[in-house]
Symmetry: C2
Subunit: 161 residues, 2 copies
């Protein structure tokens, strides 16, 4: 499994939009399965860090696999019940910009202004159509740079990073 | 100014619900002023880490002041245009659980399940009534503990922390 992930990660470095890496807990399992299929139909390569069933698990256990793949060039998607736990945990890591989004407008701004590299969703707070709309906006909106580049660089200068 | 903040932080350690510490960029300035007044009418002591005008600033510059106060016992509120930048930056710090909330349901879950200690809001994405409703839910919902305690402890075990 680990070798498969690393091979996928290495190939994704050619184009950061070619590989999507998914992670979730039980509260996000159904939407992970749904969004994986949605992304596959659009031609993306998929890495699945789990969880692989709706059985209760701890969301922090599924974050680091996604983070490592994103830091190597993939685009990340993390899903739990509300998205809050996943967004806290992923943003612990230097270089990660995980954006909890409730609609496509937020996903668009998270790409434009924050150059977000992980989309975080709350399965219990949105429909599958809204989740797909968020992912679509996230994957198709470029970062605008300029003053926003200076701001995201400051995020990794905090003493704890 | 720094001395005033430290005095307020020290006095807040007696009761973690007595002091609210606010931070924002220009995109969150109007709601910071609104929510400060809202909280004052409810008897909370206020610390204001700025910004103090609607002039353009960099949101990361207002995070650490809030974080230090929260780690000393205050409850934090961070506001920018979308909330995404503030939530990324605040969660860089071990011990911080910053929750970007779009409605009172999210704020309630962020307290119940994540024991969130900073409420993050996006001024451009909600009304003042919704913002006040989020703050009210955040301040009045206890953490449920149990399995959620185990999960939040895992958030601070990541290698980067």
């Amino acid at each position: 499994m680990a070798e498969t992930i690393m091979n996928s990660v290495q190939s994704s470095q050619k184009n950061t939009k070619e590989t999507l890496v998914f992670g979730c807990d039980h509260g996000g399992f159904a939407y992970k399965e749904f969004l994986k299929k949605f992304a596959e139909t659009k031609g993306y390569t998929i890495i699945d860090c789990g969880t692989h069933s709706p059985d209760s698990v701890d969301y922090p256990d599924y974050i680091e696999c996604v983070v490592r793949s994103v830091l190597a060039g993939s685009v990340g998607v993390l899903i739990c019940g509300s998205g809050v736990g996943m967004s806290i945990g992923a943003n612990r890591f230097k270089g990660i910009r995980a954006a909890l989004c409730m609609n496509s407008q937020m996903a668009k701004v998270a790409r434009e202004h924050n150059n977000a590299n992980i989309l975080v969703l709350g399965e219990r707070l949105m429909s599958t159509d809204e989740a797909a709309s968020c992912l679509n906006a996230f994957l198709n909106t470029p970062f605008v740079g300029d003053r926003h580049q200076r701001r995201i660089e400051k995020l990794d200068t905090f003493p704890s990073c």
